[in-house]
């Protein structure tokens, strides 16, 4: 197929590995469920095991497919995260705006990512459960019952927007306050991450040897060195690999 004969040429599509980090019960899984399924389970049980979900994010000029790794339920052993953030292009570090200790833990995760993860990792710093705060709940109603924990006094904000934002700016992080319950800012977080992933980290840098022409580049997909294990037999022409 030639370029001119492609009226609905598909947008380039890339996978982005994203790891979710944060203290237990800050609403990590709820954020992902809101993003992926647009649903919210008010009394969600703590996640057992670890979850893996995917969701596409459409940008004007490309499609980002998020592969979301949720360490849920295993924060207590602190051993899953290193396996998850290895080669991750993005991290969502979540705290609970109604729980002061959770931002301390979140800052530890940021420090660990900066020390150990891929140098170019995009980090979004996210204060969840803003629906529990009277002052800026988007629907203007104080939540009752609320999420997994916090029944009575959880309606009080313990982490100020200003303080968290100042920290995020200093560390060069994306920053949002969200509510998985109402959906406030949830898709915005993922869109911001998608936009912040540098184009170069989506296409693996190629050596000088790739002057082989566009045809070769197209047939080999976005990454000129990738071997497609589904192309067994090698008898069919390689299609544009869109992963």
């Amino acid at each position: 197929m030639t370029d001119s004969a492609a009226p609905a040429a598909p947008k380039p599509s890339s996978s982005v590995k994203l790891v979710l980090l944060g203290e237990a019960a800050v609403g990590k899984s709820s954020l992902v469920l809101r993003f992926v399924n647009n649903e919210f389970q008010p009394n969600k049980e703590p996640t057992i095991g670890a979850a893996f979900l995917t969701q596409k994010c459409q940008l004007p000029n490309r499609t980002i497919k998020f592969e979301i790794w949720d360490t849920a339920g295993q924060e207590r052993f602190a051993s899953l995260a290193p396996m998850y953030y290895r080669n991750a292009q993005a991290a969502l570090v979540v705290y609970d705006v109604t729980k002061a200790s959770s931002i301390t833990k979140a800052k530890h995760w940021v420090a660990e990512l900066q020390r150990q993860a891929s140098p170019g990792i995009v980090i979004a710093f996210v204060g969840n459960k803003v629906d529990l705060c009277d002052d800026d709940a988007p629907e203007g109603e104080a939540a009752e019952g609320g999420e997994a924990e916090g029944e009575e006094d959880a309606t009080v904000r313990k982490v100020s927007f200003k303080e968290a934002k100042a920290y995020a700016e200093e560390e060069n992080l994306l920053f949002f306050e969200t509510s998985a319950k109402t959906g406030h800012n949830v898709s915005e977080v993922f869109t911001a991450i998608a936009n912040a992933i540098p184009e170069t980290s989506l296409k693996t840098s190629r050596g000088a040897a790739t002057g082989a022409g566009t045809q070769a580049a197209i047939s080999a997909g976005q990454d000129g060195s990738k071997v497609n294990l589904n192309a067994r037999g090698g008898d069919k022409p390689q299609e544009g690999c869109a992963c």
Partner: protein, 505 residues
């Protein structure tokens, strides 16, 4: 950290190396309650991958002689005495990912099939190991620069090769036909007669092959103990594996490597799959004692926790010593000298395209013989920066040799290789790490079952991933789950995972 004390498990897997991680993957959908621990504070065990800083820390820990706990010894990092302009080329520590297990995987390997049928392959990037080379020293002129010769690696290559005369080509084709059918009825008698013969004399006398062709075949076969004359029984199946693997995933290459640090990447992806299936992961936790009981095993973990499990599985050094097998392993052990070297040039000539429009190879194999002791062979796996193991403009060489002077021979071989490339100035070694790895020669498949305690065989430590590893994984998986052989590693898509057909091409 929360305690594991008094918890009960169906399976406890000790160690996160490739053998244990493949079992974790196999068990990931079994519904079994799996606890996967490692006494190290990193994943991958003997198959780990390290950044530059991590590698230096690892080397300090393994600078002494072999212990019960480790197969590694004599590790040392050297940054070469070079001027600052060269030194400054070394990238940031995290720009490197050095593989303790850079083994190449033949495209027909059962491992790749299992990764596809278990749907884990989409988490991995595989790249082609393209060309095989030999570095040849001029016998008559020791001062002449060594030459880099591409080894013909398939039938087409043999026909095109300009260095072999017609007679040699005919003999080689006759041998290749034999390789394809040695275990069939017509050839069986011949094979019984040949199999224990040393390769050189057999190929010369029985197949009339010239020395150059014999060396080429040996380069393709990559026999595990390079300084011992291999038998036909070692070489012929390996040559067959090579020839039959060409073109499986695309024209012109027979083997692949996993991006980002060799087999470490596969081990981690396997562990992630088990974690997603509910497996619990705890690093920095080893087993100090294991007591068998009627219903399983009681384990003591490093900070004094006691847990119970129906099955305990690990490689021998990850399990508490039971005395019975450690002694006989020591006798059969062989040591391999290894060097990881970062080169100041991409060595582009080692990675020519395998075919028009095919994937750009990220790996190459170089076999070099020592000029001073011709028996000593060095096998070098070269990984380009495409492998994600070093910054662009550099490449990583993984060299192995056997024998007591292994490191000296490696020194000579790498220097010959760098001179044979023909780049001016000759590329530098920016950083290197040497170590000795002791292999447990497994005459049987290495799997040992002591009631509920199962010892997995370790990965063979030579240049090629061997299929027998996954066969023992399957055996253990069947033992634990009672599953049928045909169901091993065959998984349906997980609920909630959007598996887009277009994504996999």
């Amino acid at each position: 950290m929360e305690t594991l004390d008094n918890t009960e498990w169906d399976v406890v897997i000790s160690g996160t190396g490739l053998p244990q991680s493949l079992l974790a993957l196999a068990l990931s959908r079994s519904g079994k309650k799996v606890l996967h621990i490692d006494h190290n504070d990193y994943y991958g065990g003997d198959e780990a991958a390290f950044s530059l800083t991590e590698a230096e820390g690892w080397a300090r820990k393994h600078s002494n002689s072999t212990s019960e706990q480790s197969v590694f010894s004599k590790a040392a990092v050297r940054t070469l005495e070079v001027n600052d302009a060269v030194k400054s080329k070394l990238g940031t520590p995290r720009a490197y990912s050095f593989a303790l297990a850079p083994q190449l995987i033949y495209t027909r390997s059962n491992l790749l099939q299992a990764l596809v049928s278990s749907r884990t392959h989409s988490q991995l990037d595989f790249q082609a190991v393209g060309s095989w080379f030999a570095v040849v020293n001029d016998q008559n002129d020791p001062d002449a620069a060594p030459r880099l010769i591409r080894v013909p690696s398939g039938r087409e290559d043999v026909f095109r090769d300009a260095t072999l005369d017609l007679r040699a080509k005919r003999s080689l084709m006759r041998f290749i036909r034999f390789v394809g059918s040695y275990d069939e009825d017509g050839e069986r008698e011949k094979w019984v007669q040949f199999r224990e013969q040393p390769v050189h004399s057999c190929l010369r006398d029985q197949f009339s092959l010239p020395d150059a062709a014999i060396e080429a075949l040996l380069a393709l076969a990559l026999p595990p103990y390079a300084n011992i004359e291999p038998t036909m029984a070692t070489v012929v199946p390996r040559v067959r594996q090579h020839l039959q693997s060409i073109g499986v995933f695309g024209a012109g290459f027979a083997a692949v490597l996993p991006k980002w640090g060799g087999l470490a990447e596969i081990a981690q992806v396997a562990c992630r799959a088990c974690a997603v299936g509910g497996g619990v992961y705890v690093l920095g936790k080893g087993i100090t004692n294991a007591t068998k009981s009627e219903v399983g095993v009681t384990l003591e973990l490093s900070p004094g926790e006691k847990i119970k499990t129906q099955w305990l599985v690990g490689c021998s050094k990850d399990l508490p010593t039971s005395g019975s097998y450690t002694s006989d392993l020591k006798d059969n052990s062989g040591a391999i000298a290894k060097r990881v070297a970062v080169i100041s040039s991409p060595l582009t000539s080692l990675f020519p395209p395998t075919s028009e429009g095919g994937p750009l190879p990220a790996g190459a194999v170089v076999v070099a013989k020592s000029a001073t002791s011709p028996r000593a062979t060095v096998q070098i796996l070269a990984h380009s920066s495409e492998s994600g193991e070093c910054p662009t403009g550099q490449c990583v060489l993984y060299a192995t040799s056997t024998g007591s002077d292994g490191l000296d021979v490696i020194d000579e071989a790498i220097s010959s290789l760098l001179r044979s490339i023909g780049e001016e100035p000759v590329p530098d070694i920016l950083w290197r790490m040497d170590y000795v790895q002791t292999s447990h020669d497994q005459s049987d498949n290495g799997l040992s079952v002591d009631g509920p305690i199962v010892t997995l065989p370790s990965l063979s430590i030579d240049a090629v991933y061997e299929d027998k590893l996954l066969n023992s994984t399957k055996e253990v998986w069947q033992m634990i789950t009672g599953g049928s052989e045909g169901a091993f590693m065959k998984f349906e898509p997980r609920e909630g995972i959007d598996e887009d057909e277009a994504d996999d091409g």
